[in-house]
């Protein structure tokens, strides 16, 4: 029963929470740059407007691909909040991302294709850290399990056993949230190096779908961050929310203080951090426990 409530809450509340966080993100970023910034509800105004624009579809397959992308990403969240297998969640997350890649490459636009190639590179960069994070949850004592509903019942927070995995996961979150310095495929900001990268050829309505899917995804990713902290003690949920919000704020700070890097730097830095933080953590776990 509680898992049904969790699923419904996720499906209904996640877009509002994600959009609200997005609005706060823009407001905080503006304040960091000495500007007033848009209203906090601006992302909702934007999506509302995008839906009301004329439908322009470059390629008929695009709408289907975008809807599939959205459906799969939603399903990932549903699985997670239903307390299912975390490994399954992340496999599905990557599957969903490939639909976005298809939607980006189906139009043959040079800018969109460039953005798509970079998206694939980003996936290559963050995927090891994501898989290692799943493995970390499994290795963390006492019960070796991938199942989320059992992971939240552990006597101590997973982060105590998995600090390295946590660092690696937060590091790749910058890529997943499309924050500078790792916003190679597409950016939320006005720098127009590859116009809008992978989303260049999305018409207004498809772009609205993309934005809403991003909100769902953001909530899911922050929930995974929270999973590092949650344990059997109900009070740990408060700590988990605080940690997730702190990580979210850290991403905004990084976004506003770093310049975009080239793809080879992205790949090297991400893999080195993943190997050093998560790899060493994994070795210790395997040798000691």
């Amino acid at each position: 029963m509680s898992s049904v409530i969790a699923i419904v809450c996720f499906l209904v509340l996640a877009p509002f929470l994600g959009g609200f966080l997005d609005g706060l993100d823009r407001k905080i970023s503006a304040r960091m740059q000495g500007r007033i910034g848009p209203p906090v509800l601006q992302p909702f105004y934007d999506v509302h407007k995008l839906i009301h624009k004329q439908t322009i579809v470059v390629n008929k397959a695009q709408t289907f691909l975008m809807l599939t992308y959205m459906a799969v990403q939603l399903f990932v969240g549903v699985l997670f909040f239903a307390g299912s297998d975390i490994l399954m969640c992340f496999f599905l997350l990557s599957t969903g991302a490939t639909f976005l890649v298809f939607a980006g490459s189906v139009t043959h636009s040079p800018l969109s294709t460039l953005g798509t190639n970079r998206e694939l590179l980003q996936m290559m960069a963050y995927e090891p850290a994501v898989l290692l994070a799943c493995l970390g949850f499994y290795l963390a004592p006492p019960d070796h399990t991938f199942v989320v509903s059992e992971l939240i019942q552990t006597p101590v927070s997973a982060i105590l056993y998995l600090p390295g995995f946590f660092v690696a996961f937060v590091f790749i979150l910058t890529i997943k949230m499309r924050k500078s310095p790792f916003d190679l495929a597409t950016a939320h900001h006005a720098h127009q190096e590859v116009v809008k990268g992978i989303t260049t050829e999305l018409g207004a309505k498809n772009f609205a779908i993309y934005t809403i899917t991003e909100w769902y995804e953001k909530v899911f990713l922050l929930a995974v961050v929270a999973l590092f902290v949650v344990n059997a003690n109900p009070l740990s949920y408060i700590a988990a929310v605080v940690v997730a919000l702190a990580v979210w704020f850290l991403e905004i700070l990084i976004d506003n203080t770093c310049a975009r890097v080239k793809w080879d730097v992205l790949l090297k830095v991400t893999w080195v951090v993943t190997l050093l933080a998560a790899g060493v953590n994994m070795l210790i776990l395997m040798l000691v426990f």
Binding site: R35, H48, K49, T199, G203
Partner: protein, 153 residues
């Protein structure tokens, strides 16, 4: 009626300008003027843009590009000519390669004069364009297309 006026996304294209007006357009986004407080986003993508800001006159080379950008923008849309060059051709009007102002190529709705146009007047022009954008959106929802100047070019 959909309230679209809170989210005007601007696409800025530089025709044959001296770059003076372009600097002023970008100045609108700086902390001093902060156009984003009106929800204005400077996007580079015509397929997601609402307001086309044109600076500089039109020459034979950029005419096709401007036309294509305009056609790629989904309705409802508004065109703003920024600077004297974009309004009439300006100081380059008599030059052999200049065809004239932006209205030689696309239907212009709002003219923002000045050489270079000041950020204050550019923002003023965009605010006027936003009102027109809302009106067009209402007409678009009612299915009126020819009431506005769409499809004339």
């Amino acid at each position: 009626m959909a309230k679209v006026k809170k989210s005007p996304w601007v696409l800025h294209y530089d025709g044959a300008s001296c770059n003076g007006c372009d600097i002023e357009v970008l100045a609108c986004l700086t902390p001093v003027y902060d156009a984003e407080r009106f929800g204005i986003v400077n996007t580079g993508d015509p397929m997601q843009a609402d307001i086309l800001l044109l600076t500089g006159g039109i020459n034979a080379q950029c005419q096709e590009v401007v036309k294509q950008i305009y056609e790629q923008m989904p309705r409802p849309k508004v065109v703003v000519a920024v600077g004297t060059c974009a309004c009439t051709g300006g100081v380059f009007k008599e030059a052999y390669n200049i065809l004239g102002g932006a209205d030689t190529t696309v239907p212009v709705d709002i003219y923002v004069p000045g050489c270079a146009a000041r950020p204050q007047s550019i923002i003023d022009g965009i605010v006027k364009a936003v009102a027109l954008f809302q009106q067009r959106s209402d007409e678009h929802d009612k299915g009126i297309v020819n009431g506005s100047r769409e499809g004339e070019s």
